[in-house]
């Protein structure tokens, strides 16, 4: 069983696992979360707008993304992004985009659908009177969104947004299917090379668990604090 569990394998792989793998994972998570929240907020605003057509477009986008498995979407964009790049730039042949850019685009567009549902709930949770008061003071739509509605919606939804970011952090492990060296990818490469699957996958599980568990504890504490202020 665990008699020949070799900690040295893990120890030796640590620099590679964290400097290469975890750096990639965390950077991808952070950038995709920011991009996803920004895009998701815009989609939520479209969905709640009164301009004919916009709510439908937003709804179709969100439902479309949410019906597909992330793995399929990762494959889609991996093959599609070069063609889109070619089309946008008018280049001769499909543009080669790096694994990182491709993953970032994928996760931003995919998570935006989920973040938009959160932001929609957040915007709807703000009493109608707030928008009326902002208009009555002469604020334009964008001013009232930027100064009155969104700051409150964002704050009410912060715990949910952060929880979704933890999900995103876990989801980034799926870039494994593109043989990218994220944290799990790095662990997997060491595992295959040294024939140490048990050590490496258990260690990866422990690391993911520790990070996600602590992060979700912090989110819960934040949630209680937000609840008290309100």
């Amino acid at each position: 069983m665990f008699a020949d569990f070799d900690f040295k394998v893990i120890l030796n792989a640590l620099p590679y696992l964290f400097l290469d793998g975890m750096t990639f994972t965390l950077t991808l998570t952070a950038l995709a979360a920011v991009g996803g929240v920004v895009l998701g907020t815009l989609i939520a605003m479209m969905r709640l707008s009164g301009i004919p057509g916009l709510p439908q477009v937003a709804k179709i986008y969100v439902n479309f993304m949410r019906s597909l498995p992330l793995v399929l979407v990762i494959f889609w964009f991996y093959f599609l992004v070069p063609y889109i790049g070619q089309w946008l730039t008018g280049a001769e042949r499909p543009i080669q985009v790096g694994a990182f850019s491709s993953s970032l685009i994928t996760f931003t567009l995919f998570e935006a659908a989920y973040f938009s549902e959160i932001m929609r709930a957040g915007i709807q949770s703000i009493p109608k009177g707030q928008a009326a008061a902002a208009s009555a003071l002469g604020l334009t739509y964008w001013q009232s969104m930027g100064n009155v509605i969104l700051p409150q919606a964002f704050r009410n939804m912060l715990p949910v947004l952060l929880t979704q970011t933890i999900v995103l952090f876990q989801d980034t492990s799926l870039v494994y299917v593109l043989s990218i060296t994220d944290f799990l990818g790095a662990a997997s490469k060491v595992a295959q090379r040294d024939g140490r699957l048990v050590e490496m996958y258990l260690f990866a599980a422990v690391v993911y668990f520790t990070i996600c568990f602590i992060a979700s504890l912090l989110v819960r504490r934040l949630q209680r604090r937000v609840a008290i202020i309100r």
Partner: protein
């Protein structure tokens, strides 16, 4: 866009010799559905028990329930998949491990068990939320009538809680269905895996993925429709 579209590709024979590319995708669809349904049975059973544990007055029961949910929620599904598939046979007593490794169709059983345990943690969350959303008087009324705790759950709390959580359970089922695609990493030949191999064999990337996309959307529509029917079927009159 200099991409050569060929929508007729679906009727070409696949190099696997088991029929056309269309057959290949449909077989993938079948495995996706079968895996999702089997995993859901496990998820529903374990999830209900764990969810109930978390609402019991006993501190120990709550702790067990919470530990389960935290454990399965805080490790990425893909890592869990690897643990079940690569690690479990190694850490079990040797004869068991060998038996596991020699199981025919191991990716399927692994995927079902892994997804079942994983989804159970999410079902447990919904069940707990559903029970806690019920008025507190319901539990007291059950107790006051002389029902045991088990009877109160069986006849009063759970029937109501399941009705409340039907909509979120539908999206959990859909998540479960989409998550079957993660099992392609351990060799399950489900829909996404088949679209991927069609792409590798035929180089018709976008046709393959478009077909898979349409199939996923269709299953989503079916599930949502069925769930709506269930909701009406089990709706409590006057509520």
């Amino acid at each position: 866009m200099n991409y050569n579209w060929n929508w007729g590709i679906f009727f070409d024979l696949s190099p696997e010799g088991t029929g056309t590319y269309a057959d290949m995708l449909l077989s993938g669809l079948m495995w996706t559905i079968v895996t999702a349904l089997c995993a859901w049975v496990i998820a529903f059973a374990i999830g209900s028990v764990v969810g109930v544990l978390r609402t019991l007055p006993s501190r120990a029961a709550q702790a067990v329930g919470n530990a389960y949910v935290e454990l399965f929620r805080n490790v990425p599904l893909l890592v869990q998949m690897f643990l079940w598939f690569f690690v479990l046979p190694e850490v079990l007593p040797e004869s068991w491990g060998t038996w596991l490794k020699q199981l025919p169709n191991a990716p399927f059983y692994t995927a079902v068990v892994c997804l079942g345990f994983f989804t159970a943690s999410r079902v447990a969350e919904q069940v707990r939320a559903g029970i806690q959303a019920l008025p507190r008087g319901q539990r007291m009324a059950g107790t006051a009538l002389g029902l045991t705790t088990a009877q109160t759950y069986r006849y009063v709390l759970l029937p109501n809680a399941y009705r409340i959580i039907l909509p979120p359970m539908t999206s959990e089922f859909l998540n479960n269905l989409k998550n079957t695609s993660v099992a392609l990493t351990i060799g399950l030949l489900e829909l996404t895996a088949r679209a991927r191999s069609m792409q590798e064999f035929s180089f018709q990337v976008f046709e393959a993925f478009t077909a898979a996309t349409i199939l996923y959307i269709l299953i989503n529509l079916v599930v949502v429709t069925v769930s709506g029917m269930l909701e009406r079927r089990f709706a409590v009159p006057g509520r």
